[in-house]
């Protein structure tokens, strides 16, 4: 089913440093006149600039998503594959994704999906492609960036003098970085979890980048817009969202649809997607440009409304785990 694209969500947001942040470049110490640790830089729009690499952002978001799932779900594989759990991707040998009789053989794609953890289904593992992609975050206005060098020293506990340092590092304390998060073929619960992760990022429950224990990495999250698209749907004559070629599948034009909603029951169950993965929204669908596809758009701060709704779907997943 992954060859089909049934839904896609793009969340456009800005990350605004709330205090210093540092995404370290790998090449420390190459130039002795440079700070010991400097911000990663790249060329963007014909100029050199610091930026937040999408890979770092994804790493931090994934780590926190796993932390949430382990905290209220399980941190190891439950017997029932539909229960909420998160693995530790770094220390998982993924034996459960291999055929029990023949370890050389992988399971079928639906079985692999079914037996992978909630977070692996979203962020990917060696056998599943990631559903989530984050673009590199670039400054909206390079002139607004505030960069400074900081010094660190450790004070000697016995003599009161400097025991370590000074070592210096470059931080960004002001400006705004714009990025986009893309989710494809997502369940509403997955979208809900991303909403909770971004809420926690904004609340300072985790940070981005290096030396978080020094209080670095705290950012505010500001939403520009979110667009949910159903590329294989059209708005029919009754102003309903309907899946092309499946005249029996249509929904009210204000419906938020998870991947499971588009699948036949048998296929949905084989993959372990939730039933009835849909919610009503205050947003009306519009036809996408070029006539194909349907989209719902949340502007500015109303993006949190999208998350509030999706978290209800997430809650269902959590609660089903709690009762079994």
């Amino acid at each position: 089913m992954h060859k089909r694209l049934v839904n896609h969500c793009t969340i456009e947001l800005s990350l605004i440093p709330d205090g210093p942040i540092l995404i370290k470049s790998g090449k420390e110490g190459a130039d002795p006149t440079k700070p010991d640790m400097e911000f990663v830089e790249t060329y963007h729009q014909d100029g050199r600039t610091i930026y937040l690499p999408g890979s770092s952002l994804k790493g931090a978001i994934r780590a926190h998503a796993e932390r949430i799932v382990r905290s209220i779900g399980s941190d190891s594989k439950p017997t029932n594959p539909n229960l909420l759990w998160a693995n530790d991707p770094l220390n998982d040998n993924y034996d459960y994704l291999k055929d029990r009789k023949d370890k050389q053989k992988k399971l079928s794609p639906p079985e692999i999906h079914l037996h992978s953890s909630f977070t692996d289904r979203l962020f990917g593992n060696t056998s599943i492609a990631s559903r989530l992609r984050i673009e590199d975050a670039y400054p909206t206005d390079r002139t607004q960036l505030k960069l400074e060098e900081r010094n660190g020293v450790a004070i000697d506990r016995v003599f009161g003098s400097v025991a370590v340092g000074p070592f210096n590092y470059q931080v960004c304390t002001g400006g705004e970085f714009k990025t986009k998060i893309h989710l494809k073929n997502f369940t509403l619960a997955q979208l809900g979890l991303i909403g909770l992760v971004l809420r926690d990022l904004n609340d300072g429950w985790f940070g981005l980048g290096f030396t978080k224990s020094r209080g670095l990495g705290t950012v505010r999250v500001q939403y520009e817009q979110a667009i949910v698209q159903y590329p294989a749907c059209v708005l029919n004559s009754e102003n309903q969202i309907s899946l092309l070629g499946h005249s029996n599948l249509s929904w009210n034009h204000t419906t938020l649809l998870g991947v499971g909603a588009f699948l036949e029951e048998s296929e949905r169950d084989r993959y372990g997607f939730p039933k009835d993965d849909r919610l009503d929204t205050p947003v009306s669908a519009e036809a996408m440009p070029l006539g194909f596809g349907v989209q719902l758009t949340w502007h500015g701060n109303t993006v949190t409304d999208l998350f509030e709704r999706s978290v209800k779907a997430w809650k269902k997943v959590v609660m089903s785990g709690a009762t079994s």
Partner: protein, 364 residues
Amino acid sequence: MSSNPPPPKPSRPNLANSSPRRRNNSEQALPAKPYELIPFPKQPPCLKRPAGHDKYLPDRLHGTLFLTLTVQTALHVSTGVVVMGSDIGNNRIPLIKTMVQNPDQKLTIQGSSLKGCVRSVYEAVTRSCICKTKAKKLQIPDKYSECTPEPKKGRLDVCPACQIFGALNWQGLIEFQDAVCQSTGFATGFMPSLYRPRPDQRRAYFRQGKVAGRKFYYHTIRAIDRGQNQGIPVQTAAKEYIFTTALHFKNLTAEELGTLFIVLGQDPQYPIALKVGGGKPIGMGTMTVQVTAIDCIKGQNLRDRYVAYQSPDSTQLTGDVLQQLMQQHIQTAHASAFVEKPQLDALLEVLRYPTDREPPTGMY
């Protein structure tokens, strides 16, 4: 050729004149030292596997502490950078050592500086390692060397301070944000050249070949604002300046959080203040702490937080409820013997605030 006169050259202090007593060779003639060494607990550090970051444990505490820090004696936390006075809007000063200022030009105490200061007190009142020192290995008391966990080899046991403040290769459970001044502007002070500690002369640093304890400077009623010694103007936060900050924590036990409250001076039995930044020997850097709010969750509240986008009810506590919660955790810490009472009692004598102690005179 420039016609400007050369900048005034500070003259080296005349030791014979400025401090006649110093010329006597006996150690007795030294002025009272402005610090004390707090001896180590009788028992060596107790090492344990830290709680880690993988998940929020249901029986532990997670959240944010909101702090207000009030400057009691002039504060200078150096950036290590010296600039011309005109660079920071003061044309009368040729050169000045700067403090960090945020993008709104407000004085800022780096999170790392605050963390170091809080950590050193936490270390002293718990059975923790000597985490940073240039003392030689042979001079470190038995089992007190700095924790060096190796997570990759499965060696994770660390002392109480390393568990919550972190160690090499191990991220701690507490994160300190920058403390930002409530008002814009700054004061200018003067930092005399302070002498390096002289471990060979001050034999008190050692006892039977081992370091004798952890060094803490006394609070004094005021800082010496101008010495006869050579020195340099410094950007400072003056008395009454107020800073605010937030401190995030996860997976703390009640004892650990209680001990943190004690270290932050929230136990009425132990009214202590922090000593932050430079100029400690001359009375600088005294700051009192007020915990203004706490956002703290565990157990069912943790679950509630993660099944709703909006927090169900505010978990933020202030006022009397906050005070009760703090005192309750402080009592838990005392009762659990997690806090070493002899060390805490000794520290109280050094870090007690308010104080009637005069700043040192003469040499420091």
